[in-house]
């Protein structure tokens, strides 16, 4: 492996910062998910945005299961994937995007432009659970509300800080 590919490997790991990846909307608990998912790829096929990627070999036992890396493409909550899941790994009844629970966004105030005195509202403005999951304290400082945040990762994707100041922590951490 030459230096370049190693850097690429590092960068791709940095895409999810060594964190467990997100699962598509409606995913059951991680330990059940790995056993239930039949790796049929249907969720990835129906996703209009290419948000869902099937795990490569490096993911070991998770190989072939659907993952979302919000820095590459976040989930836009179109809710097309849960109904097509034949295995029950995704709850086929789930339609309401506000009831999705893929994870929760965490703001690192030391990296966030707003907390540094730069007027930026990118995460707040693009949040699909608008004005609920993320609000602005004093109209300046973004704050995440864990009970409303669905973990779609759009905020992480749009964050214009040099190093992402808002990241989604997967609800499927194991």
């Amino acid at each position: 492996m030459n230096t370049l590919t190693r850097w690429l490997a590092i960068l791709s790991r940095a895409f999810h910062s060594g964190r467990p990846p997100l699962r598509p909307p409606g995913a059951v608990k991680e330990e059940v998910f790995v056993k239930t998912c039949i790796k049929c790829n249907k969720c990835a096929q129906v996703c209009p945005y290419g948000s869902i990627q099937m795990a490569h070999l490096e993911w070991g036992e998770k190989f072939g299961t659907p993952l979302i890396f919000p820095r590459r493409t976040p989930c836009y909550l179109c809710m097309k994937c849960p109904p097509v899941c034949p295995s029950g790994a995704l709850d086929p009844q789930l339609r309401d995007k506000t009831r999705v629970h893929m994870g929760v966004a965490v703001i690192d105030e030391s990296k966030c432009l707003a907390y540094m005195g730069v007027i930026c509202r990118a995460c707040f403005e693009r949040c699909p659970i608008y004005r609920e999951a993320i609000t602005l304290k004093d109209e300046l400082y973004p704050q995440v509300h864990n009970d409303k945040c669905v973990g779609c990762g759009i905020c992480e994707y749009v964050c214009p800080a040099e190093e992402k100041a808002i990241t989604v922590v997967s609800a499927h951490a194991v």
Binding site: K111, L113, G117, V118, I119, A122, E125, Y130, L140
Partner: protein, 750 residues
């Protein structure tokens, strides 16, 4: 420390830096160790005029931070400004001159390019007369640059076909200030924001388009929760979040609301009768009328009438008028929602009416303050005379005395200056389309994306001999050019910007221009020389020489800048004119005590004397409440309005080069109200087609409760989806500013 320890320390420092921690050094030591020097400058984006500290290392701009000593932004920046330094070295910077050969733009030498421009311009001028050439400039060019171009085109070539993009942005505000107060630009300043108890924000998305000022308003509200913020805007913008009252009219029907507010103010006795008696005239636009006649005119505008016209709640109008009237202080802010209208000047007048009737003008916490969209629209173009009907120093072309004064400074016979105003922007580009204008010089702007109803103008711009001096390529305009001249960018040249509050600020040159780029002023002087006018430009060795000559045009004028030479501007955080001498501190409120031009003898005890008017009185106008040029109908039931987002500026030639900003707003879209969307079966992120009588555009739908029902909003940043293919080119008969903010449209799911 051995090598391994050193590597570990380096690694740890990198990690620390990523969380903004200096592991081994204090910040100032770190700067010094890293060789970064900091220089005072001004932001390149909007008209707020934020002070910036620019960090330079090894001949490169490596960082910026807000200037804590700036009274404008007090250390704050918005996300655009924060990333400005990255634009300097963008891939899309134009690095060498280019000439179109066999339909293709190819690299050329400066000599070859400038010779071609000069030969072609000379040929056109000699064959078709000076009015067959034209100049189209920018509110983002430095005052010095616009001044040189002005001197060349109006004073030497002898054409007044000299326009600039502020026509598309500020012209109605100019018309409003001139007709109402007799002099362009605001009476007050940003200081009034910190003391106002009522904010009336009309047609302005301050939170996104002037974020630093919005923050000042928020700070005011946080400190003093009793202050009231009233918004009149068809769209719930992010500015809305701090509003105590939002009146959401149908786009284009807000004139009646302002009249209705005036009516309540008069009826319920919130007027300042003393002030009206001393300092106000009334007019119906054609002739002087009496106060009584004005009151009768207002009779029609009951809250119910205005509410019906604009489809809003009459109680809200009453509430707004009472808050405005009862408060001892009030500031009104507006931008393109007011200016970019076929009745933009009238709307400006109606806003000023409220302040004049209540005497809320020319004192702390009171002002009708037009927010500017570009960093130097006020400075270079309005003050510098960069439009077809004006000359430097707030002078008019039609005034023989004004022409004489400028001709003397330019050292040309007064006959050189054509006494007839040139073509305003829309007429100018129509003349280009018709082939009447055969050579066009565009500087620092992108009209092939920013003009309204683009389809009408693009072919003409392709056919005309088009010279574009710009820092970027490709843009929609450079794609059509015959000659491309690479221009130096912010921090690669020195000069002065004048912002919204009459404040002129100096920007230093910190690094050498990229590639073969040159200062626009230098390019224009070169052109002047090649056209045979070199003599009157030879003494411009530096931008400072240009500024010093420009200062002479301001001497004794209402915008006197004689007290603002470079040496002083380099020291201070800008100066607000009038500033007639170098020991004068600048002016916070015009037309009153403290303004060096306030004529105490004429005022005879009056609080304000509007010296731009012969009798010192400002005018309250009884303007009819006319609707938009293209009202909605059964076929085109939606009102389409365009605008900006926080992260991007205008045609994205700058912000589009910063990956972080590009990601922050992933692409073009159209906002539609959820009720309309439900009715039409449109879901969020569906692809839809927006159609007007002029064009159509496929966009991603953003279903969001922001535009009112029957209204669509499209940001106009993206060149791959030109919002201006849809907009209408109808313009205000007074200001000639096009009505970007209202036209009729329909939307269909694709």
């Amino acid at each position: 420390m051995d090598r391994r320890e050193f590597l570990k320390a380096t690694a740890a420092s990198a990690a620390a830096a990523s969380i903004g921690v200096d592991l081994f050094l204090k910040p100032s030591q770190a700067d010094a160790a890293a060789g970064v020097t900091w220089h005072k400058s001004v932001c390149r984006f909007c008209g707020v005029g934020c002070g910036m500290m620019v960090g330079v290392k090894d001949g490169k701009v490596v960082s910026v931070k807000g200037d804590k000593e700036s009274t404008v932004n007090r250390g704050f920046l918005c996300v655009k400004g924060f990333y400005l330094y990255k634009v300097i070295t963008a891939k899309s910077r134009l690095r060498y001159p280019m000439i179109r050969k066999n339909g293709k733009l190819v690299r050329a030498s400066w000599d070859e390019a400038m010779d071609l421009v000069a030969t072609k311009f000379r040929e056109v001028i000699d064959r078709y007369g000076p009015d067959a050439v034209a100049f189209y400039g920018s509110g983002q060019a430095e005052t010095e640059e616009t001044y040189i171009a002005n001197k060349l085109f109006k004073g030497h070539i002898g054409t007044n076909n000299f326009e600039g993009n502020p026509r598309l942005c500020m012209a109605s505000a100019v018309g409003g200030y001139l007709t109402t107060f007799g002099a362009d630009e605001p009476v007050g300043s940003y200081d009034d924001l910190d003391e106002a108890e009522v904010f009336l924000i009309v047609g302005s998305n301050t939170a996104e388009c002037h974020p630093v000022l919005f923050d000042r308003i928020v700070e005011r509200k946080t400190k003093d929760p009793h202050i009231k913020i009233i918004i009149i805007d068809p769209r719930k913008t992010p500015t809305d979040r701090v509003a105590d009252l939002h009146i959401q009219p149908i786009p284009g029907y807000d004139l009646a609301i302002l009249h209705a507010m005036a009516r309540i103010i008069v009826k319920e006795g919130y007027t300042d009768e003393q002030f009206i008696k001393e300092s106000v005239n009334f007019s119906d636009g054609k002739k002087k009328i009496s106060y009584e006649e004005y009151k009768q005119f207002l009779e029609k505008f009951t809250p119910e009438y205005a509410a019906k016209v604009a489809d809003v709640n009459p109680d809200d109008i009453v509430k707004a008028a009472r808050w405005f009237g009862q408060s001892p202080t009030a500031v009104t802010l507006w931008t393109m929602g007011v200016n970019q209208r076929t009745r933009g000047v009238w709307l400006n007048n109606l806003i000023h009416n409220l302040h004049l009737l209540t005497g809320k003008i020319g004192k702390p916490g009171c002002d009708s303050l037009s927010l500017t969209g570009q960093p130097n629209a006020c400075g270079g173009v309005r003050e510098g005379g960069g439009l077809a009907h004006i000359l430097p120093g707030h002078r008019k072309i039609v005034n023989p005395q004004h022409r004489k004064e400028i001709a003397a400074i330019w050292k040309v016979p007064v006959s050189n200056i054509n006494p007839k105003p040139g073509k305003h922007t829309i007429a100018l580009f129509e003349a280009v389309a018709k082939g009447e204008i055969k050579a066009l010089y565009v500087m620092c702007t992108n009209p092939a994306q920013s003009l309204p109803n683009l389809k009408k103008f693009l072919k003409g711009m392709k056919d005309v001999f088009l010279v574009v001096a710009d820092a970027f390529h490709p843009t929609e305009t450079t794609k059509l050019a015959d000659v491309l001249l690479p221009a130096a960018f912010w921090s690669e040249k020195e000069g002065v910007y004048g912002c919204t509050e009459r404040r002129s600020q100096y920007m230093p040159k910190l690094v050498e221009p990229l590639g073969e780029a040159r200062w626009d002023g230098d390019i224009l002087i070169d052109l002047a020389r090649r056209l045979g006018y070199g003599k009157n430009f030879e003494h411009f060795k530096t931008p400072e020489d240009v500024w010093n000559e420009y200062l002479l045009t301001t001497k004794g004028r209402d915008m006197d800048l004689m007290g603002a030479p470079y040496w002083r501007l380099k020291k201070v955080r800008g100066l607000r004119w009038p500033v007639p001498t170098t020991d004068h501190p600048g002016t916070r409120h015009r037309f009153t005590e403290g303004d060096p031009l306030f004529p105490k003898d004429k005022a005879k005890g009056r609080r304000m004397y509007f010296y731009g008017k012969p009798d010192g009185r400002a005018v309250v106008f009884a303007r009819p409440d006319k609707g938009p040029e293209e009202p909605t109908d059964a076929e085109y039931p939606f009102a389409l309005t365009t605008g900006r987002v926080l992260e991007h500026f205008h045609t994205m030639t700058m912000t589009g080069t910063v990956p972080q900003l590009v990601r922050a707003v992933p692409g073009p879209y159209v906002e539609i109200n959820p009720k309309d969307a439900a009715r039409l079966g449109i879901a969020d992120r569906d692809t839809v087609k927006v159609i007007t009588r002029r064009g159509e555009l496929e966009l991603t739908a953003r279903v969001i409760d922001r535009p009112r029902e029957k209204t669509l909003f499209v940001p106009w940043h993206w060149s791959e989806k030109l919002a201006n293919l849809l907009t209408i080119d109808a313009f205000d008969p007074g200001s000639k500013e096009p009505e970007y903010k209202v036209c009729a449209a329909k939307i269909v799911k694709v």
